[in-house]
C-alpha cells in the first residue's frame, strides 16, 4: 500500500466514525491549545518586563530608604522598612568614583492638581532635572525638559496630557499644584506597561517640589536617590561602592542596612525570579492538561483498535500484512494528531490575540507552534502504536471471531 492509499483509506474510516474522530481530536486540541497559550503567555510577560526595564537604560543605581529586598520576600520574618535618605547621602553618593549625575527625588503621591476649576489627584515628583533627564530614556513627545532650579516649569507624563483632564494639556498650559501655578514645558512619550506610573506623573525641580510639600516634608530628606554611572564600572560593583559609602554614613554593618540599592541588573534578576516561578507554574498547568489530553488520546486509540478488531481480521484475511495493518492505524493516529495540533495552535493564536487586547503581549512563536505540532503527532502515534501492534499480530481467525 502506498501513502496515498493509506491516507485515503484512513480518511474514509474517520469520516464514517465522525463523532468519535472529532472527540479524539478535541482531546488533543485542548491539550495542545492550553500548552501553547501557557508558554506564550509566560514568554509574553517576561518580554514585557524586559522591555520596560530596557526603557530605563542600564547605567544607573537606585537607592531607596529602608531595606526591602525583593529576593528575601520569600523568607520568614517582617522586612525592615525603617530608615530615611537625606540630601547629605545624595551628596556623598555624588562623590563616589564612577557616578556622573545624582537625582534627589521627592515623591508626593496623591497631590491635588487643578486646571480650569477641575481638580484631580496624581503623582508629583521632584527630581534633579539634569540627572533625571538622562535616566528617562523615553524622551519627550513635545516641548523640552525642565532645567535645574526651574521654579515654575513642569514636565507631564503622557496620560496626564491626554486623559487626566477633560481638555488635553498642551505645552505652555498653566497647571495649579497646591496653590502654586506652573507652566508645562514638555510632554513625555508614553512609557506603556510596567512604567511605574511615569505616564501618570508630573515632574518638576526638586526645590519646587519642596515648596509644594511645605513643612510636611523635612528639608533634609529625600524620597529616593538615583545615581547615574559612567558605564565603565560594572553595575554590581557600583552598587557595592555606593552601599559601602552609605553604610559608613549611616553607621550600620553589612546586612543591617536601612536602605536598599538596586541596579537594572539586580531588578532584572529579582523580577526574573518571579517570572521564572510564573513560567514554572504555567508550564506545570500546561503539562497537566497535556497529560490529560495524552491519556485521552491513548484511551481513544485503544478503544478504536479494539472496536475495529473485526476489520483487522477482514484486512488480514484478504491479504494485509501485519505491517500494513499497523501502518493504517498509525496513519490514523498521525492524522488525528496533525488535525488536533493544527486546531489547537490556531485556537492558541486566537487566544493570545485576546490576551494581548488585555495588555499583556502574548504571541505564539514559530518554535512553540512547531514543538506543539510535533508533540501532538508524536503522542498520537505513540499511544496508537502498542494497541495497533498487538491487534496486527493477532491471527486472522481470532480477529474475525472477536465480538
Amino acid at each position: 500500500m502506498n501513502n496515498k492509499d493509506l491516507i485515503a483509506y484512513t480518511i474514509k474510516g474517520m469520516k464514517h466514525r465522525q463523532l468519535r474522530s472529532w472527540l479524539t481530536i478535541l482531546g488533543i486540541v485542548i491539550g495542545i491549545a492550553s500548552v501553547v497559550i501557557m508558554i506564550s503567555l509566560a514568554q509574553g510577560i517576561q518580554g514585557d518586563i524586559q522591555a520596560s526595564l530596557d526603557k530605563l537604560g542600564s547605567n544607573y543605581v537606585a537607592i531607596a530608604p529602608g531595606s526591602l529586598n525583593i529576593g528575601s520576600a520569600f523568607q520568614f520574618g517582617p522586612p525592615k522598612l525603617k530608615g530615611i535618605l537625606t540630601v547629605r547621602d545624595a551628596e556623598a553618593i555624588a562623590r563616589v568614583e564612577g557616578v556622573t549625575d545624582v537625582s534627589k527625588n521627592i515623591v508626593l503621591s496623591f497631590t491635588p492638581v487643578e486646571y480650569k476649576k477641575e481638580v484631580v489627584n496624581t503623582n508629583v515628583i521632584g527630581v534633579t532635572p539634569s540627572a533625571y533627564k538622562k535616566f528617562l530614556t523615553i524622551g519627550l513627545e513635545k516641548g523640552r525638559f525642565i532645567e535645574d532650579g526651574d521654579a515654575s516649569g513642569i514636565v507631564i507624563g503622557h496620560n496626564i496630557a491626554t486623559d487626566l483632564f477633560d481638555e488635553e494639556i498642551k505645552v505652555g498650559t498653566p497647571l495649579t499644584i497646591k496653590d502654586k501655578t506652573f507652566r508645562v514645558t514638555g510632554v513625555l512619550n508614553s512609557f506603556g506597561q510596567g512604567g511605574n506610573n511615569v505616564d501618570d506623573s508630573i515632574f518638576l525641580d526638586e526645590r519646587a517640589a519642596r515648596l509644594i510639600a511645605g513643612d510636611s516634608f523635612d528639608k533634609n530628606r529625600v524620597s529616593s536617590i538615583l545615581a547615574l554611572t559612567d558605564g565603565k564600572t560594572p553595575p554590581s560593583e557600583m552598587s557595592e561602592k555606593i552601599s559601602d559609602r552609605l553604610r559608613s554614613l549611616h553607621k550600620v554593618k553589612k546586612g543591617d542596612e536601612d536602605f536598599t540599592v538596586l541596579t537594572a541588573e539586580s531588578i532584572a534578576q529579582q523580577v526574573g525570579q518571579i517570572t521564572g516561578l510564573l513560567t514554572l507554574f504555567l508550564g506545570g498547568v500546561a503539562a497537566i492538561s497535556l497529560l490529560v489530553g495524552g491519556v485521552g488520546i491513548a484511551n481513544s486509540m485503544f478503544t478504536n483498535v479494539l472496536e475495529r478488531t473485526r476489520e483487522i481480521g477482514i484486512l488480514k484475511a484478504i491479504g494485509a500484512s501485519n505491517k500494513e495493518v499497523l501502518q493504517l492505524f498509525l496513519t490514523e493516529a498521525g492524522i488525528i494528531g496533525l488535525i488536533g495540533g493544527l486546531i489547537g495552535i490556531f485556537l492558541a493564536v486566537l487566544a493570545s490575540f485576546a490576551i494581548s487586547a488585555f495588555g499583556v503581549s502574548s504571541g505564539v512563536s514559530i518554535g512553540v507552534a512547531l514543538f506543539a505540532l510535533i508533540f501532538s503527532i508524536g503522542i498520537g502515534m505513540l499511544s496508537g502504536y502498542y494497541p495497533a501492534r498487538n491487534a496486527a499480530r493477532m491471527p486472522p481467525i481470532q480477529a474475525l471471531r472477536y465480538e
Binding site: M1, K4, D5, Y9, K12, G13, K15, H16, R17, R310, E311, G313, I314, L315, K316, A317, I318, G319, A320, S321, N322, K323, E324, P395, P396, I397, L400
Partner: protein
C-alpha cells in the same frame, strides 16, 4: 488434472484445560483445478476449522498443506499474508465487508493491498461487480445493500486478485432461501467459468450442483461422494 490444493494428515487440537478438543483429527484432501467441492457435516464436526486452515486464516497443529505445489506449513507471516491476498478468495457466512468503504472500494481492497494501480483496480472492480450482477450498486455503502447483495460484493472481492481457489463457509447461512439459491447459482456460474470452489454448507440443494461432497464427522472425513459427469 492439475492439483491446486492438498492437505496431508492435518490435525487441529485445542487444549481446553485438562481436555483436548480435536477439531480436526487427521484429514487428507486433494483438490484439482476446476473442481467444485462441498463440505458437509453436523455442527461442530470441524468444517469451519478445515476451511480456515485451507484459507490460511488458521494454522494446523500438525500436518502439511500445499497450495499450487508450494508447502505453506513453514511460510512466514508476510508470505502467508501474500498468499491469502493472491491465491485465495474467502467468503464468510456474515459477509465481512469493510463498513466504511463503498462497494467498489471493498472490491478494490485486495488489489490495493496487492499494489495494483488505482486506475486499474477501479476498472477491474467495476467489471467484477457487473460479473456478480451488481453493476448498478458501485457507489453504495454496504449498509445500503440487502444480505444477498452484500454476499455478491464479498464474492466479487474474493475474485479481485484472480485467486487459484474460492473458499466459502456457509455463504448462504444468513440469507433467505431465494437469495441463497441465487448465490449458489452464481457459484455454479463461476465454477463453469473455471474457478475452483470449496463450499461448506448445510444446504442439501448444493449436493445437486457439486460433483464431489465430503462428509466430516468429529474431525475426520466420514465419507466422500462423487457424482458422475452428466
Amino acid at each position: 488434472m492439475k492439483e491446486v490444493l492438498k492437505l496431508e494428515d492435518v490435525k487441529k487440537h485445542y487444549l481446553m484445560g485438562d481436555s483436548t478438543v480435536k477439531a480436526l483429527d487427521g484429514v487428507d484432501l486433494s483438490v484439482n483445478e476446476g473442481e467444485f467441492v462441498a463440505i458437509m457435516g453436523p455442527s461442530g464436526s470441524g468444517k469451519s476449522t478445515m476451511l480456515s486452515i485451507l484459507g490460511l486464516l488458521d494454522s494446523p497443529t500438525s500436518g502439511r498443506m500445499i497450495i499450487r505445489g508450494k508447502q505453506v506449513s513453514h511460510a512466514s507471516e508476510d508470505e502467508l499474508a501474500r498468499l491469502r491476498g493472491k491465491e485465495i478468495g474467502f467468503i464468510f457466512q456474515s459477509f465481512f465487508l469493510v463498513p466504511t468503504l463503498s462497494t467498489t472500494d471493498n472490491v478494490a481492497l485486495p488489489m490495493m493491498l496487492y499494489g495494483v494501480s488505482e486506475k486499474e483496480r477501479r476498472t477491474r472492480a467495476k467489471k467484477l461487480l457487473e460479473q456478480v450482477g451488481l453493476g448498478d450498486r458501485a457507489d453504495h455503502m454496504p449498509s445500503e445493500l440487502s444480505g444477498g447483495q452484500r454476499q455478491r460484493v464479498a464474492i466479487a472481492r474474493a475474485l479481485a486478485n484472480d485467486p487459484a481457489i474460492l473458499l466459502a463457509d456457509e455463504p448462504t447461512g444468513n440469507l433467505d432461501s431465494k437469495s441463497g439459491a441465487e448465490i449458489l447459482k452464481l457459484f455454479k456460474k463461476l465454477n463453469d467459468e473455471g474457478i475452483t470452489i470449496i463450499i461448506v454448507t448445510h444446504d442439501p440443494g448444493v449436493a445437486s450442483i457439486v460433483k464431489r461432497t465430503i462428509h466430516l464427522k468429529d474431525g475426520v472425513v466420514e465419507k466422500e461422494e462423487r457424482r458422475k459427469k452428466e
